[in-house]
């Protein structure tokens, strides 16, 4: 039962999410935090922070950790399987068909039409993180960290791993 829920929780986001791994994050949040309540917003944010600080695709890292957290190694295997295998099988199985239609306006339209909805869900998730930050770290610390990391990430193009690390040090020192 738990394995089936894990499979669904990662199969659905990955079979409708166009735009690569990052597009899938708000869809995963809908399942993991919203629908099944396996994690709260704080834990999801922590997982995402570490995921962004480490290399390799984000969708599989999220799946692997959430799956493990919910149901151990078997859970990790099921969640990663649901993330990787269905779209890969489609790709291997329907390569010829997809090759002929890769320039089709209908196929291009699919990812274009989904994008505004993904943007909306990302905006919603951003707002959720803001609320969570205010609730946890307080409004002053939240704004301070947000502004500092926005300047570091956008203005100075600092590597996300360093920004996450700096926030961890700040939190350890001033929020403990």
């Amino acid at each position: 039962m738990i394995y089936w829920e894990l499979f669904l929780a990662f199969f659905i986001p990955n079979i409708i999410g166009y735009g690569g791994g990052p597009a899938i994050i708000p869809l995963i949040e809908t399942e993991v935090v919203g629908r099944y309540g396996w994690m709260n917003a704080q834990e999801f944010a922590e997982t995402l922070a570490l995921g962004n600080a480490l290399p390799s695709p984000i969708a599989t890292k999220m799946a692997g950790y959430v799956g493990y957290d919910v149901a151990g190694m078997g859970g990790a295997a099921v969640a990663v399987f649901a993330t990787v295998v269905p779209s890969l099988l489609l790709m291997l199985g329907a390569l010829g068909l997809l090759y002929r239609h890769r320039e089709s306006p209908r196929v291009k339209r699919m990812s274009q039409w989904v994008r505004p909805v993904i943007a909306l869900m990302m905006a919603w998730l951003t707002l959720g993180f803001l609320m969570e930050g205010i609730e946890g770290a307080g409004i002053v610390h939240t704004l301070l960290i947000a502004i500092a990391s926005a300047i570091a990430l956008l203005r100075f193009k600092t590597h996300p791993a360093f920004v996450v690390m700096a926030a961890l040090i700040y939190g350890g020192l001033f929020l403990g």
Binding site: T47, L54, P55, W113, W124, T126
Partner: protein
């Protein structure tokens, strides 16, 4: 070019391990690295094939950085190659996530560790805002700001006011995109 020899599989393993360890910023940011290994270093695909495979990968949902290794691994070494390539990209960092977060959540009730967790939330918020902007700009470019805005408002009403699961909204859009006749431009597919 199907070389399911031991050396071919070892090459696959090391190439995709490098990609997995050096590729920061999620799948789409990893594409140049994949190209470097697959086209430039090992010549498993030429430039045109790589572009085609990328275009095909983008016609499908799901992470791009597992579809590309999976396909390339399959071409080079069959099913075994496919599994080796995908595993090499994703497994090391899944293990790292489990190990690091496992330790972290064990000491969650220690005050300064909880502080570390709280401090990371605003950073993730900024990153998500960056992605939001990126996806909004892309959809504006493709659909125009008015259409994008109308879609955002309608989808927002359905998902966050009426409580419709986003899967239904996106699913309906995908079906409509596929079925609705193409009015502008030409239908190049046959």
């Amino acid at each position: 070019m199907t070389t399911s020899t031991g050396k071919g599989l070892a090459d696959l393993f090391w190439a995709f391990t490098r990609i997995g360890l050096l590729g920061f910023g999620g799948g789409p940011a990893m594409i140049p690295l994949i190209r470097q290994e697959v086209v430039k270093r090992h010549h498993w695909l030429d430039d045109d094939e790589f572009a085609d495979i990328l275009a095909i990968g983008n016609t499908l949902p799901g992470p791009i950085a597992t579809k590309m290794p999976g396909y390339i691994g399959y071409r080079v070494g069959g099913i075994g190659g496919c599994i080796i390539a995908v595993a090499a990209v994703i497994l090391p960092m899944i293990a790292a996530m489990i190990a690091m977060l496992g330790i972290f959540s064990r000491y969650r009730d220690v005050a300064w560790i909880r502080g570390m967790g709280q401090a990371v939330v605003p950073v993730v918020m900024v990153m998500m805002a960056q992605l939001t902007l990126d996806f909004w700009n892309k959809s504006q470019l493709a659909l125009g700001w008015l259409v994008s805005l109308v879609m955002v408002v309608v989808a927002g009403g359905l998902i966050y006011v009426l409580g419709v699961h986003p899967g239904w909204v996106i699913g309906a859009l995908l079906v409509a995109a596929l079925l609705r006749p193409v009015t502008l431009g030409k239908e190049t597919s046959r």
